[in-house]
Symmetry: C2
Subunit: 258 residues, 2 copies
């Protein structure tokens, strides 16, 4: 059986989801006729596979979860939306007259965000962009993008990159998920296996697939607030507040140490 090809999985998926939502451009069809809903396929390294409809990446504010709205109320100054995707939250901030830059490593995602009207976009990693000399007051990691800190190995460099881009008094607003409330035996076993391997319980090893494409395997972190605080130790960021109203999802605000 052929292996999938490495490529811009997220970008191809978002392009198709955008075509389905707007009716503009070629859309995936079942049997060449019926529009096929665009589904994100996520594989985990224990063999788990999940599919999730991709349309939520394009959702308007009326379709958001409550914590998204509460998170945006905390935004101030110049904003860097990290993992901007199709611009779901960045477009709303732009509409409110805020200075917002959307950063993503997916060329397809950036293309869709621009088509939807997002003016300031950066196709880059945070690490490379950290050397640009740009400065921000708020870093946004919504849509569970706290996961992008990956785990204990990656977090210090990721947080240092944001510190390089931070103006005095800058904040990170990040939405995360506490993985430890689950009773699903598949997830409980995965967390135990992670712990046995010296990883955080919710340090997921994933790859995304869409049609013929796959990403490389990467780490994506679901951590508790306690674990997040430990990851901040020795960095230039400290935890300022946590909104846990929509448990197990939370919105953490981290501030740059003076």
């Amino acid at each position: 059986m052929d292996q999938p090809l490495l490529g811009d999985v997220f970008g191809e998926m978002i392009r198709d989801a955008y075509a389905v939502r707007t009716g503009i451009g070629p859309r995936p069809l079942a049997g060449g006729r019926v529009p096929r809903p665009v589904v994100e396929v996520i594989e985990r390294d224990d063999g788990l596979i999940n599919g999730a409809p991709a349309d939520h990446y394009l959702a308007g504010p009326d379709e958001w979860q409550p914590h998204d709205h509460r998170a945006l109320r905390l935004v101030r100054g110049a904003v860097l939306d990290i993992g901007v995707g199709a611009g779901r939250t960045a477009l709303e901030l732009q509409k409110r007259g805020m200075a917002v830059t959307g950063l993503d490593t997916s060329a397809g995602a950036i293309e869709v965000a621009r088509k939807r009207g997002l003016r300031d976009t950066v196709l880059n990693t945070v690490d490379a962009y950290a050397r640009s000399g740009a400065g921000y007051d708020t870093f946004l990691l919504l849509g569970n993008n706290l996961g992008l800190i990956e785990g204990p190995e990656r977090a210090p460099a990721f947080l240092a990159a944001l510190a390089s881009l931070a103006r005095p008094g800058a904040q990170i607003i990040a939405q995360g998920t506490d993985p430890y409330g689950t009773t699903d035996p598949v997830h409980v076993a995965y967390q135990r296996r992670n712990a046995e391997r010296g990883r955080l319980g919710g340090q997921l090893r994933l790859r995304l697939r869409y049609r013929l494409l796959a990403t490389e395997w990467f780490d994506y972190l679901n951590c508790s607030v306690d674990e997040l605080e430990k990851l901040l130790d020795g960095t230039r960021w400290r935890l300022a507040s946590v909104d846990t109203e929509d448990r197990p999802y939370y919105v953490a605000v981290m501030e740059l140490c003076a």
Copy 2:
């Protein structure tokens, strides 16, 4: 990375889809909280992967496609619904007072069909059931289940099994899909590659995955009506009529030769 486990993929998926639709029983959750839509993941041997929401397997008549309704109008006598799944069409026939038996190789599917009220079910292959001495007037292969004839190697044995179960004048009512109308380059290339390997263009090599489980790889046939007619050559069945109103989907009626 761990490989998925072999198991009753379809059954586990249908159990979860049933739990989501009815609110009865444990349901898959995202983050231990938000119900996760149940998605069928289908891998093809060229590396293609597709996810499709599984809820349509439980759809009521008001949610069906028009050709499903037209197909059921052709049903007469004692019915064997092959690949009955969650009983989508069999339950409707039972409600209309018809004698209908639902056959499936998935224990989980049969369990859900019975929970939904289907009285006469068989957990078996058509080949093994062909030796049971049962007799039917109509064999139903809806929901694209014409695909179960797999291809030129398998079709004669599959059709012979149905002939063993056939009463005089019996018919097969099968819904298929003509694959050759597509312009999707991924599918066009797949059809060419199949042809180069001496396979029918739409002879798909697939496996299903759900959570930790996968099926073995199996063939599933999307064929044109012309190809179907050739597959009937030398069998006890002949093509009697084809409804192509919902092209590329069609409903073929095959009759037992006297």
